[in-house]
Amino acid sequence: MSGAPAIEVSHLSKVFGGRSAVDDVSFSVGKGEVFGFLGPNGAGKTTTVRMLGTLIAPTSGSASVAGLPLGPANDAEIRQRISITTEAPGLYTRLTVAENLDFFARLYGLPGRQARIFEALSAVGLADRADDLCGSLSKGLKQRASLARSLLNEPEVMFLDEPTSGLDPVAAHDVLELVNGLRERGVTVFITTHRLDEAERLCDRVAILNTRLRTIGTPDELRRTLFTRSLAITTAAPLDKPDEVFGGLPAVKGWQASGPAGGNGPAGYVLSVTDPAAAAPGVTRALVAGGADVLSITETRHSLEDVYLELLGDGEGRS
C-alpha cells in the first residue's frame, strides 16, 4: 500500500430521477488494499461500483481509478485496467466455461488467450470444468467462473459486488480464499458485502455507507472510535463490595454488573478501561486481594457488526 491511491473519490454523488442514491462520498483506497464497502440494501454500494467502473456517470463529484480520472475520454482505458464481478455471475449458459472466458479475453484484446484462460481457471480451481456448459454449473461454481473471468485481464483494481451473495458457507469460503489470494498478488480489491464477519476477516479497511459515507477505517479503528474499551470479568461469586475493589484502580474509569447477579452463583462485571492489556494485571490483583475467585478476565471485543448496528441500527439502515 504505497504511492498514489488505486481509487480516489471526491464528493461523488449520483441522483436517479430526483432520488439521491449516493451523496457526497469521498474516500481513497491504497494500492494493494482490500477495501470493504458495507451498507444496507439501497445504500448506494452498487451504484458507487458502477460509477467507478465507468458504467454510469456521476451526477457530481470526481474520482480516479487505476490512476486515471473518470470521464468519457478515459472510460475504455479504465475498463482495460479494472474488472468488475457483478452480483449475478452473468455467464452465457449455452457456452462452456472456456468459451465464456475466451469471449471476454477477446473483448480485452489479450494475447496468449488460451494460457490466460487456463491460468484464470486454475486460480479458481475450475481448470477441469473448462469444457462444461455454464448452464450445468452450480451457483458456487458459476461465481467462481465469474471470478475467473475477472482475473483474465490481470486487473489493477478488482471490484467485487456481493461476491458471496446466495452462496452456501463452503462456496462463500472458497470465494473469500480467492480474494485473499488476490491480496497476495497485490491486486487492489474493492468489495461490497452484507456479510460483516467476512468483511472483518478480509478487509484492511471498511467504509460504511448509507447514501452518505457514515464512517471509514480499519475494523479496529472503528471499534475504538465507537466503543469504550472494556474488560469482562467473571467471578465465582458476587463481590461483597465491588466499589471498593474497582474504585481504587486508576486504570478503571467505571464499572457495571453484567450477567447473573445476586445469589451464590458466578457473577459478571464489565469495567471501562483506557488500555485493557495494561489494566488487567492490576484488576486481577485487586480481585484476589478482595477475596474473589476469578473465573475469567477478558477484553471485550466489539465486532464489526456492533459497529455497523451502532451506526445504522437506528432505523436509518433502510433507505
Binding site: 441522483v15 456517470a57 457483478t86 452518505r212 471509514i216 477505517g217 480499519t218
Partner: protein, 266 residues
C-alpha cells in the same frame, strides 16, 4: 475506430448462442418452410392455359412472399438481442469491458445478418430451382421475365439489415422481450409494405424506382449502425434510468450526520 477483434468476438459468441438454441433454430426453420410451400404450390398449380393477368398475379404474390423471411426472422432475433442479455444478467459484465457500443451493436447485427440472409437466399434458391424443374414452361417464362426476380436478390440483404437495425433499436429501448419482439416486427413492416406496393403493382415498379429504393435502403442501413449505437445508453441498460450527467438536483439530498474518519492508508 472499430476494433475488429472485439467485433469478431461478439459475432462468434452470438453465432455460437444461436447455433445452440434449439428454439431459435426450430422457429427460424419453420417460417421459411411455410413461406416456401405457399408460393411453390401456387406456381406449380398454375395451369399453362391461365390468363396472362392471372399468371402475373400468381408470379407477383409468389415473389413477394419470400421477402417476408428476411424481415421477420431477423426482426425477432434482433429484438431479443439486447433486452434478452439484460434479462439474463450477461449484459453488464460485457459493458465492463473495453468493447464500444458500435462494436457490440455491429457484432450483434452481423451475427444475425449472416444466418438470416443465408436462410433467405437458400429458400429463394430452392423456390427458383423448383420452378425451373417442375413449373409449366409458360409459367416459368413469366417468372424469369418478372422484374421482381433480380430485385429480390438485391432487396433480401437490404430488408434484413433494416429489420435488424429496427429490432436492435427497439431491443435497446425496452425492458421486456415480448414487447421488443412485438415492436420490432411492427416497425419492420413499413419497408415490406413499400415492396408489397410494387410487387402488387399498386406503385408501378421500374428499374429506376428499384435502384432508388435500394440505394436509399442501403444508405439507411449503413448509417443505422451509428444511430442504433447512439440509442444504446449504458446507464439506462444497467440501471433502467436514463443518464443525466453532471446535473446537480438541489434540495434532493438527504443530510445525514458527518462522516467519522478514522485513519487511512493512502
Amino acid at each position: 475506430m472499430i476494433n475488429t477483434v472485439r467485433t469478431g468476438a461478439v459475432i462468434r459468441k452470438e453465432l455460437a448462442e444461436i447455433r445452440r438454441n434449439k428454439f431459435i433454430i426450430v422457429t427460424s426453420s419453420i417460417l421459411p418452410v411455410v413461406f416456401l410451400v405457399e408460393p411453390t404450390l401456387s406456381i406449380l398449380l398454375t395451369k399453362a392455359s391461365a390468363t396472362s393477368a392471372m399468371l402475373a398475379t400468381r408470379v407477383d404474390v409468389s415473389l413477394f412472399v419470400p421477402l417476408l423471411v428476411p424481415v421477420l426472422i431477423p426482426a425477432t432475433m434482433s429484438a431479443f438481442s439486447v433486452v434478452g442479455e439484460r434479462e439474463q444478467g450477461t449484459l453488464e459484465p460485457v459493458l465492463t469491458t473495453p468493447v464500444t457500443r458500435v462494436e457490440l451493436i455491429g457484432g450483434k447485427a452481423a451475427a444475425i445478418f449472416m444466418p438470416s440472409v443465408g436462410l433467405s437466399y437458400l429458400m429463394f434458391g430452392v423456390f427458383i430451382a423448383i420452378v425451373a424443374l417442375f413449373a409449366k414452361p409458360a409459367v416459368a417464362t413469366e417468372m424469369w421475365n418478372a422484374p421482381q426476380l433480380p430485385a429480390e436478390v438485391v432487396f433480401i440483404p437490404l430488408l434484413a439489415a433494416w429489420a435488424i437495425w429496427v429490432g436492435l433499436a427497439v431491443s435497446s429501448q425496452v425492458s421486456d422481450t415480448r414487447v421488443a419482439q412485438q415492436f420490432s416486427v411492427l416497425a419492420s413492416l413499413p419497408a415490406i409494405a413499400l415492396v408489397a406496393l410494387m410487387s402488387f403493382r399498386i406503385v408501378t415498379p421500374s428499374l429506376w424506382l428499384a435502384v432508388v429504393l435500394a440505394v436509399a435502403l442501403l444508405a439507411i442501413d449503413c448509417g443505422a449502425c451509428f444511430v442504433v449505437a447512439g440509442l444504446f445508453d449504458r446507464e439506462r441498460l444497467v440501471t433502467g434510468t436514463r443518464s443525466r450527467q453532471r446535473t446537480v438536483v438541489p434540495g434532493t439530498v438527504r443530510r445525514l450526520p458527518p462522516v467519522r474518519q478514522s485513519g487511512g492508508t493512502s
